[in-house]
């Protein structure tokens, strides 16, 4: 499955890019699975996800929890807790 990944704020800065298109291997079912797989891709990812409790996720632009299944998602975003307003 090919998905579009987006990174914002310090997640973007640590990973060093604002997004990328990735082919996910089978076995990645939930958001948490994806975080673990990404963390193993290199030190920049490992650092971005070092404190997973500080990283939020959105599937197709909706907030989700770690245990949410990816399903047939097209766009996945990772970012810190929001600080607007």
């Amino acid at each position: 499955m090919t998905v579009q990944l987006l990174y914002f704020a310090w997640v973007r800065e640590k990973i060093g890019r604002s997004g990328e298109s990735l082919e996910l291997p089978p076995g990645i079912v939930t958001v948490a699975d994806l975080v673990r797989w990404l963390s193993a891709r290199g030190p920049e990812y490992a650092e971005a996800f070092a404190r997973p409790d500080l990283v939020r996720a959105a599937l197709d632009q909706s907030h989700v929890k770690p245990e949410t299944p990816l399903g047939r998602v097209r766009e996945i975003a990772f970012f810190p807790p929001v600080t607007g307003g």
Binding site: F8, L54, S62, K65, T68, A77, F78, F79, V82, G85
Partner: protein, 161 residues
């Protein structure tokens, strides 16, 4: 019901006039304006940069606004949120709630702010005089403020693991 995400500044008076023009059922208009403070934790800042997630931002703000209309009898609402590089004293966000009942207008405006602060995908980076930029931490008090409103489904917005 209107939302706007923009780099440009806004004028509170002009927005109120435009939102309420021609509607004499409205008796109460509450506005909230959030502005860039000149110091963060005692350190003077020279600028604040607001990053956002285009598309999701608009969707979340529309959801927040729709939730408010489901809870209070509102004649009109507006949310304007800026992004980009701002200076101390600059406007960041404007919320307007217009109703025939003043308490509905007050509560809805406060709800809109509490809710958007915890759900709209914006991130603030403050730059101090030494040129160092720091991402603003999410505040526990903002989550506590949100808890007052007993929002269902919002627990979806939690940690990624």
């Amino acid at each position: 019901m209107t939302i706007r995400v923009q780099a440009e500044d806004f004028d509170v008076g002009a927005e109120v006039r435009q939102l309420t023009a021609g509607n004499t059922d409205i008796g109460a208009v509450v506005t909230f304006t959030g502005t860039v403070r000149g110091a963060a934790k005692g350190r003077p800042i020279v600028s604040m940069t607001l990053e956002h997630y285009p598309g999701m931002t608009e969707a979340e703000l529309a959801r927040v606004e729709s939730e408010a209309h489901g809870r209070w009898p509102l004649d009109a609402t507006l949310i304007v949120h800026r992004y980009g590089e701002l200076r101390p004293g600059d406007n960041i966000v404007l919320v307007i709630a217009a109703s025939r009942h003043r308490h509905a207008a007050f509560e809805a405006a406060e709800f809109l702010m509490d809710y958007l602060k915890s759900s709209a995908p914006f991130w603030k980076k403050e730059t101090t005089a030494d040129g160092v930029g720091r991402w603003v931490d999410a505040r526990e008090t903002d989550l506590a403020a949100l808890a007052r409103w007993n929002l269902q489904g919002h627990s979806r917005s939690r940690a990624a693991e």
